[in-house]
C-alpha cells in the first residue's frame, strides 16, 4: 500500500464520540480503527486491583459503533491497554463485552486477545540474567519488589498486534500496549517508513487532543512514504501546525524523543505545514531502531488499607489559627490512638488535609490569607482495614469537638456524612519503572485467536 489511513475516534475507549466521527472517517477511506483502552494516569488502583476505570456501558456504547464500522468497511479494529491497565482481567472484560455485542448485532468477526500480564517468577529469571534495567528516576530492581506486586504488565510494541493481524484477526484486543503501537501496527505492516508512522501514531493517540477543539471527536492520519497528513473528523474542528506540534508536549517528559520497544521516535527535525485551514502535513520525523529491544514493565502493590473521614470548619475563630488546630489534631490523634488502641507510629499512618486552605499544594502554595471554610480530610493507612477504621473512629470525637488551645468550650464541627468514616479498601502504589531486554518482541506476550467458526 502506498498510504494507510488510521482512524482514532477518541483518546480512550469509553470516552464517547459522535457517531458522525466514524461515518466521516469511513467516508475518507480509513484502513484501520485504533483506540486506546487505558492509561496509568488515574493512579495505581486500576493496575493494582485489575479493574477498569471506565463503566462497562460506556465501553459497550463505543465498541458497538466501532465493531459495526469494522464489519461494514472490512477494516481491522485494534484496542490497546484493555480495561484501563491492560491486565489479563481487563482484556477478558473487554472481550466479554465484545462477544455480547457481536452476538447482539449478528456480526461475525475474528477476535484476537493478546495478554501482557507478567509473572514475578518469570521476570526474576530476566533479573538473574541481568536483563532488567531501571528507567529514570528508578533505581535497581530487587526480586522482593517483583514479588510484592499484585499485577505486573509489560507494554507491548506493535509486533504482537501485527502477529495477530497476520494470523487473521479482524479485531485485536490487546493488554498493556504503548499508546502508539496500536496505531502504528497496520501502517508498519504495509511497509511504510517508521519515522512518519510512529510520529503519526503519537499524534493520534489522544484523538482530538491535537486539534483546536479537543472535545469535538476523533482524527484521521494518512501516512505515506514521505510523511503524514492529519485532519480532524469533526468538520468544524481544525488541525493547525501549532496544535499538532504542541501535542508532542502532552504528558511527555521530553517533547522531541519517545522510547518505544523497538527504538526511539525523534521529531526534533519534523516540519509542520498547513495544507489548508484544517489539515496539517508533517515531514522529517525519524525513528531510530534500537540495538536492544526492550519491554517496559508496570507494577502495582498494596500499601495497606485506608479509611477516610471528612469534617468541615466554618467558625472564623478556628479558621484564624487553622494550622495550630491541625497540629493539635495530629498530636491528639497520636495520643488517643496510642492510649486506646495501643498503636504507635509504626503501626499506621495518617494524612490530615486542609481542603480550602493548603491541601493541594501544601508548603509550595504561593497564596496566603485566611480561608472562608476548610474541609478536613483524615486519611488513615494501616496494614488491615479494621485497624484503619479503628484509628479513624478514635479520631472521630476530635474531628467533631476539637477546640483551639485558646478556647474554653467545645465547638461542634460539620461532618459531611454519617457515618463520617468511609472504608476505601486496599490502597496501591506503582513500584516498577524498569525495562526488560528481550530477544523477541513477542516473547512476553500471549496471543489467542480462536479458529473462525464459519471458515
Amino acid at each position: 500500500m502506498n498510504e494507510v489511513r488510521v482512524l482514532t475516534p477518541v483518546g480512550m475507549l469509553g470516552g464517547g464520540f459522535p457517531p458522525e466521527t466514524i461515518t466521516r472517517g469511513l467516508a475518507l477511506g480509513a484502513d484501520v480503527i485504533a483506540v486506546d483502552g487505558g492509561s496509568t494516569d488515574s493512579g495505581p488502583y486500576y493496575l493494582g486491583s485489575g479493574t477498569a476505570k471506565t463503566a462497562a456501558a460506556a465501553v459497550a456504547r463505543d465498541l458497538r459503533l466501532l465493531l459495526r464500522a469494522a464489519a461494514t468497511a472490512g477494516i481491522p479494529l485494534i484496542v490497546g491497554s484493555c480495561g484501563t491497565s491492560g491486565t489479563d482481567s481487563g482484556v477478558d472484560w473487554v472481550a466479554g463485552i465484545t462477544r455480547d455485542i457481536l452476538a447482539e448485532e449478528g456480526l461475525d468477526l475474528r477476535v484476537a486477545t493478546i495478554y501482557s500480564e507478567q509473572q514475578a517468577t518469570a521476570l526474576k529469571d530476566y533479573l538473574d540474567r541481568d536483563r532488567v534495567r531501571p528507567l529514570p528516576p528508578a533505581g535497581a530492581l530487587d526480586p522482593e519488589t517483583l514479588e510484592s506486586c499484585t499485577h505486573i504488565v509489560g507494554m507491548m510494541g506493535h509486533e504482537p498486534i501485527v502477529a495477530a493481524l497476520r494470523a487473521g484477526a479482524q479485531v485485536v484486543l490487546a493488554g498493556r500496549a504503548t499508546d502508539t503501537a496500536i496505531a502504528a501496527a497496520v501502517p508498519l505492516m504495509a511497509g511504510l517508513p517508521a519515522g512518519p508512522v510512529w510520529h503519526a501514531a503519537k499524534i493520534v493517540e489522544c484523538g482530538g487532543q491535537c486539534t483546536t477543539n479537543p472535545r469535538a471527536g476523533g482524527v484521521l492520519a494518512t501516512i505515506d512514504a514521505t510523511g503524514f497528513t492529519i485532519e480532524p473528523l469533526d468538520p468544524d474542528a481544525a488541525c493547525t501546525p501549532e496544535s499538532v506540534a504542541a501535542h508532542m508536549l502532552y504528558e511527555t517528559v521530553n517533547p522531541y524523543t519517545m522510547r518505544e520497544p523497538a527504538g526511539t521516535i525523534e521529531v526534533s527535525q519534523a516540519r509542520y505545514r498547513a495544507l489548508d485551514d484544517r489539515r496539517v502535513r508533517v515531514e522529517g520525523s525519524r525513528f531510530e531502531t534500537a540495538a536492544q529491544h526492550t519491554i517496559k514493565l508496570e507494577g502495582a502493590r498494596i500499601t495497606g488499607y485506608e479509611t477516610m473521614s471528612f469534617t468541615a470548619i466554618r467558625d472564623p475563630h478556628i479558621l484564624g489559627q487553622i494550622t495550630v488546630w491541625a497540629a493539635l489534631l495530629r498530636r491528639m490523634i497520636t495520643e488517643w490512638v496510642g492510649g486506646t488502641l495501643g498503636l504507635g507510629p509504626e503501626d499506621y499512618a495518617c494524612d490530615i488535609r486542609l481542603y480550602g486552605y493548603d491541601a493541594v499544594l501544601e508548603e509550595i502554595d504561593p497564596a496566603t490569607g485566611p480561608p472562608r471554610e476548610v474541609g478536613v480530610m483524615l486519611l488513615v493507612n494501616a496494614p488491615d482495614q479494621a485497624t484503619a477504621t479503628a484509628v479513624a473512629k478514635v479520631a472521630n470525637p476530635l474531628m467533631l469537638h476539637l477546640p483551639t488551645p485558646d478556647m474554653d468550650y467545645l465547638p461542634s464541627l460539620a461532618f459531611a456524612t454519617s457515618p463520617a468514616e468511609v472504608e476505601r479498601g486496599a490502597a496501591y502504589e506503582f513500584v516498577l519503572q524498569h525495562a526488560v531486554d528481550v530477544d523477541s518482541p513477542t516473547e512476553l506476550f500471549r496471543i489467542h485467536l480462536p479458529e473462525a467458526e464459519h471458515a
Partner: protein
Amino acid sequence: MPETIADLAREVRSKNAGPFWITMEIFLRDDAGYALVADPAFLDTADIARLYRIDADTIAMFRIPELRVVKISFPRPVSQGSLRDRDIHAGQHHVPLAAFPLPSY
C-alpha cells in the same frame, strides 16, 4: 500591567508524564513574553528547584521558540496515589509556576 508568568501566558498547565514524572508547560501569548520567560537569567532550573522544593539536577527544561513554549519536567516528589499524594493527575501543580513574579515586581 503583567505581574506574573500567568499574565504573559495563554495557558500554564501541569500533568503526570507517566506514574513517576510531572511535566508542565507555559504557552506564552507572544514573542516578547516568550523571550522573557525563556531567558535562563529569568527562569532556570534553580528557580524551579526553589519553587517546588526539589533537586535542580533532576529538572529538565525545554525552550521551544516555534511554539513559544517553555516546558519543565521533573520526577514526581510524591508517589502517585500514595497516602501523601493530594493531586493524583498532578493537574494543579502549575500554580506556583504560574504565580512566579516577573522582573521589577
